[in-house]
């Protein structure tokens, strides 16, 4: 039995400082799933057409050849769907967490990748947002670039980028003013 538990008030993840207070987190824009979706639809259409052509119209008479064709098409169908499922999982394993101290970019895949990059808000020198093209501007996503002294963190496909940009700037300013007041 799998239990889904989470702390109700805060986010917990590997690499998070106990002192950090989380403001928000997000995943990449849903447009990242568009091409995997188109690919699975195209492969499904191909399998359907092949089934219709080889088994329906031409009606392969040889039973063993027909069964080999059917198994080949079934495997192609399954492979396309499992690849789509893998893309969906990968989408959900790419998470950006913004806390009061740092921005964490956690990028994992099912088997090969396990990256965790962070950048301190106090170390930030510049924050850029860029939206190129009609699709990015219509759907409101783009690339957020966070620059510190020796580190550049690029967050591609940031959804509602204008809002995220403003919120990160706001958090940075609040923390800066709080630190100024705390300095004796």
């Amino acid at each position: 039995m799998v239990k889904y538990t989470h702390a109700p008030a805060d986010i917990v993840f590997l690499g998070k400082d106990p002192e950090e207070r989380c403001h928000f987190y997000f995943r990449q824009h849903w447009i990242r799933l568009f091409w995997p979706l188109i690919r699975v639809i195209a492969w499904s259409a191909f399998v359907g057409m092949a089934l219709w052509l080889f088994v329906g119209i031409f009606g392969i008479q040889d039973a063993s050849l027909r069964r080999i064709t059917l198994i080949f098409l079934a495997m192609t169908w399954l492979l396309a769907h499992f690849l789509f499922l893998t893309s969906v999982y990968r989408h959900f394993l790419y998470i950006v967490v913004v806390t009061d101290q740092r921005v964490h970019r956690i990028k994992r895949t099912l088997v090969t990748h396990n990256d965790h990059q962070t950048i301190g808000l106090q170390m930030l020198q510049d924050i850029y947002k860029s939206q190129h093209g009609l699709v990015q501007n219509l759907l409101g996503f783009g690339t957020l670039t966070l620059e510190a002294q020796e580190t550049v963190l690029k967050i591609h496909f940031t959804p509602r980028i204008a809002e995220k940009y403003e919120r990160i700037l706001h958090i940075k300013e609040v923390e800066r003013s709080r630190n100024k007041h705390n300095v004796p």
Binding site: V2, Y4, T5, H6, A7, P8, A9, D10, I11, V12, F13, L14, C22, H23, F24, Y25, F26, R27, H29, W30, L51, V55, R66, R67, L70, I71, A74, W77, L78, H81, F82, L85, T86, Y89, F92, L93, I95, I106, R108, L110, V111, N114, F141, P159, R160, E163, K164
Partner: protein, 72 residues
Amino acid sequence: MITTLICIGILILVGEVCLWRLFYTKIVDMHFPPSLDCSSIRFFSIRRMHIAVIVHAVLLLISTLFPLWLLW
């Protein structure tokens, strides 16, 4: 025919379960309250994803095994 269909059915279930277990082991150490989620897709919590994966597995079983059974 039945043996082939059962083998393919088991293959689908094993694939779905293995992918889900891999995903779950990767995401289990990150707990996310939905109130802080600012993603473009906010519907899928882990519980809802699990349900969606079960539905996907059932649909994949039906859409693979039924045509095979018809055309074998």
